[in-house]
């Protein structure tokens, strides 16, 4: 049986509040799939719906083609790793891992064999007799993974499992998670508000905002070809310039912004007079007047040297500063604070999208 997870026009309401709005997508068997979005956008809610703790107010959840309505969390082929891990503090590591087998009535010897195997897989050998309180953060993480894998789920659901760890450990655990997924070969559905995590680990990403799935695609697509203003501003740093479309032809538009007329690509087919936002990535902006491309000028607020690169902050048309990233190798003169600098970007670097809510940081 394949274990594709399908959401079919799923709505989830808490009273009058709509937490998930018309979510439709299909997650393939064996995929590492991430939901990425700011906190409060409904990621956990979706995960709890897939795992069976919530029933959709409307719409259908299918796993392996089977409608899951009315099937409780304890009878779904999914295992959930909770945001706070929810390990059982009164059991040892081995008892935690064996718990799912124990309640299924698996024989003792079989339980022990499985626990040993999982302790090995998660680099916890010799830790089986320890109590949860005696483990470090990273070890707890692994116990939670082992405990969930013990019941051989078809789908593993992970709710921001790394958010409690410190930075170094987090980066290490990313690789480890990815490696485990490749080894066990089951579907991982991963939730995070950290785009770095989503981009490095996932086969595909669904970017969410306020209960809506804004875009689904692989990391590169989501980063390079965002389809909404929210995705463009949430995934990766971006400079938005709001304005009205004053010219549109051949897949390109010109947008009249407070800092001048700027051109960019037009994948969403904006038309004359539409409200638009033109995005340019900080690393695509260059200092100095351009030869043929689009040029604007602004007052330099601050220059931050950060080793391999520098950030230049300029006074933007809105409250948000314009950011330029200057690589070390590039022979550009860094401007002084307070001077008015010209900046430009290449023709392909501008991306115009329909006006919409931006990710507020």
């Amino acid at each position: 049986m394949s274990a594709d997870v399908e959401l079919d026009h799923v709505w989830i309401r808490f009273g009058p509040f709509v937490a998930v709005r018309d979510a439709t997508l299909r997650i393939e068997n064996g995929e590492f799939f991430s939901f990425l979005g700011p906190s409060g956008c409904g990621k956990t809610t979706i995960l709890r719906t897939i795992s069976g703790f919530l029933e959709p107010s409307q719409g259908t959840v299918r796993i392996g083609g089977q409608d899951m309505r009315g099937i409780g969390a304890n009878r779904r082929p999914t295992a959930l790793i909770f945001q706070n891990l929810a390990l059982f503090p009164l059991m040892t590591v081995a008892e935690n891992i064996a718990y799912g087998l124990r309640v299924r009535g698996v024989p003792r010897a079989e339980q022990r064999r499985k626990v040993d195997e999982l302790l090995g897989l998660t680099a916890l050998r010799d830790q089986g007799t320890k109590r949860i309180a005696e483990l470090s953060g990273g070890q707890k993480q692994r116990v939670a993974i082992a405990r969930a894998l013990a019941v051989e789920p078809k789908v593993l659901l992970l709710d921001e499992p790394l958010s409690a760890l410190d930075l170094k450990l987090r980066q290490h655990m990313r690789n480890e998670l990815r490696a485990i997924q490749q080894r066990v070969g089951i579907t991982f559905i991963y939730i995070t508000h950290d785009q770095g995590e989503a981009l490095t680990m996932s086969d595909r990403i669904a970017v969410m905002n306020a209960g809506m799935i804004e875009q689904v695609g692989d990391g590169q697509t989501v980063f390079d070809e965002p389809t909404t203003a929210f995705v463009a501003s949430f995934v990766g740093e971006n400079n938005p310039f709001q304005g009205k479309v004053v010219a549109a032809h051949d897949g390109r538009v010109t947008v009249d912004t407070p800092v001048g007329r700027l051109g960019g690509r037009n994948p969403r087919g904006l038309k004359l007079g539409d409200d638009a936002i033109l995005f340019v990535r900080p690393d695509a902006l260059r200092l100095g007047p351009g030869a043929g491309g689009d040029t604007l000028s602004a007052v330099v607020l601050n220059v931050a040297f950060e080793g391999t690169m520098s950030h230049v902050f300029l006074k933007g048309p809105t409250r948000k500063d314009i950011i330029i990233t200057v690589g070390r190798g590039e022979s550009q003169r860094l401007p002084e604070q307070g001077e008015t600098a010209s900046i430009h970007y290449g023709a392909a670097a501008g991306l115009a999208l329909p006006a919409g809510r931006l990710a507020s940081d």
């Binding site: 959930l80 990273g138 690789n175």
Partner: protein, 294 residues
């Protein structure tokens, strides 16, 4: 300096007064247990004796009362701990006004004078007996247990509620997610978590039952507990035998308190070392990579 000094002196005087009030009578009572006159007398102290203690052992009425108290205490524990547990669990599953109504009803016995609980219990069960002709229900032991349990169950519930407040609901969900059924979740997750509360509510229930007078004196009918025997004695006239009993009770209590404190300290120390150990290991964290394990 002077104003500081005045304050300090006043504080000292007040503390002396407070604890003098609290302990003075008990200490005096303790002294009378060892004095020879057969009226409890601390001053003048005539001669040291332990004869009041030996009298105590031969006092069959007291001994019988003690036995009854123990039986009733056990019955109260057996009834109130499960009821208090159920009460606390139900409390966590209702909201707003339903919760308010529920809380009002189950906590009202705590704010009701004990005599009233005793009276109402006796009247109710007497009528139940009359209607059902089940004579065994109109029994001092049964009524004492039921009467005391009305409010002791609320004590137990409050103990359980305090512990439940620290329960992480996600653990229940985690167990469910791993395939456990509701009864399994209860047995494997919730009950072990509540075990310390089971223990402390049992102790609380037993002690509350053991020392209860107001409810018991109505509900016990013709039987006697240690406390009702004591009350009868004290009302009839005072003898140093009662002082001796008090000294014994205080000694047992003191020993219990000290043992409990020692146990608690050892537990705290154990937890502290475990925590320190975990912290050390976190330092060398990213060592055992998965790659190495596979």
């Amino acid at each position: 300096m002077t104003s500081q000094g005045v304050w300090r002196a006043m504080l000292g005087f007040y503390l002396l007064l407070f604890f003098g009030f609290l302990f003075g009578p008990l200490i005096v009572m303790g002294i009378t247990a060892f004095n020879t006159p057969n009226y409890p007398q601390a001053y003048p102290f005539e001669a040291f004796t332990i004869h009041w203690f030996s009298d105590l052992l031969g006092d069959s009425e007291l001994m019988e009362g003690l036995q009854n108290s123990l039986i009733i205490g056990a019955g109260v524990v057996a009834l109130t701990v499960p009821v208090g547990l159920a009460g606390a669990i139900v409390m966590t599953q209702v909201y707003w006004r339903a919760r308010g109504l529920y809380y009002l009803i189950v906590v009202s016995p705590v704010l009701t004078p004990g005599v009233i609980l005793g009276i109402s219990t006796v009247i109710f069960w007497k009528d139940v007996t009359r209607v059902t002709d089940a004579k065994f229900l109109y029994d001092g032991f049964f009524l004492a247990i039921v009467g005391q349990s009305t409010f002791i169950s609320a004590y137990c519930m409050l103990v359980f509620l305090a512990r439940l407040q620290r329960f992480d609901r996600a653990q229940e969900e985690a167990a469910l997610d791993l395939g456990a059924t509701q009864p399994q979740v209860f047995r494997h997750i919730l009950l072990p978590f509540l075990r310390p509360a089971v223990f402390s509510s049992a102790v609380l229930a037993f002690l509350s039952s053991f020392e209860n007078y107001n409810t018991t004196t109505f509900a016990i009918l013709a039987d006697k507990t240690l406390v009702t025997v004591l009350a009868g004695r004290v009302r009839q006239g005072t003898t140093p035998e009662i002082s001796a009993l008090a000294v014994l009770i205080i000694a047992v209590t003191l020993a219990g308190a000290i043992a409990y404190e020692a146990l608690r300290r050892r537990e705290a120390a154990r937890e502290a070392t475990a925590l320190a150990q975990a912290r050390v290991e976190d330092g060398g964290e990213p060592g055992p990579a998965l790659a190495a394990a596979t």
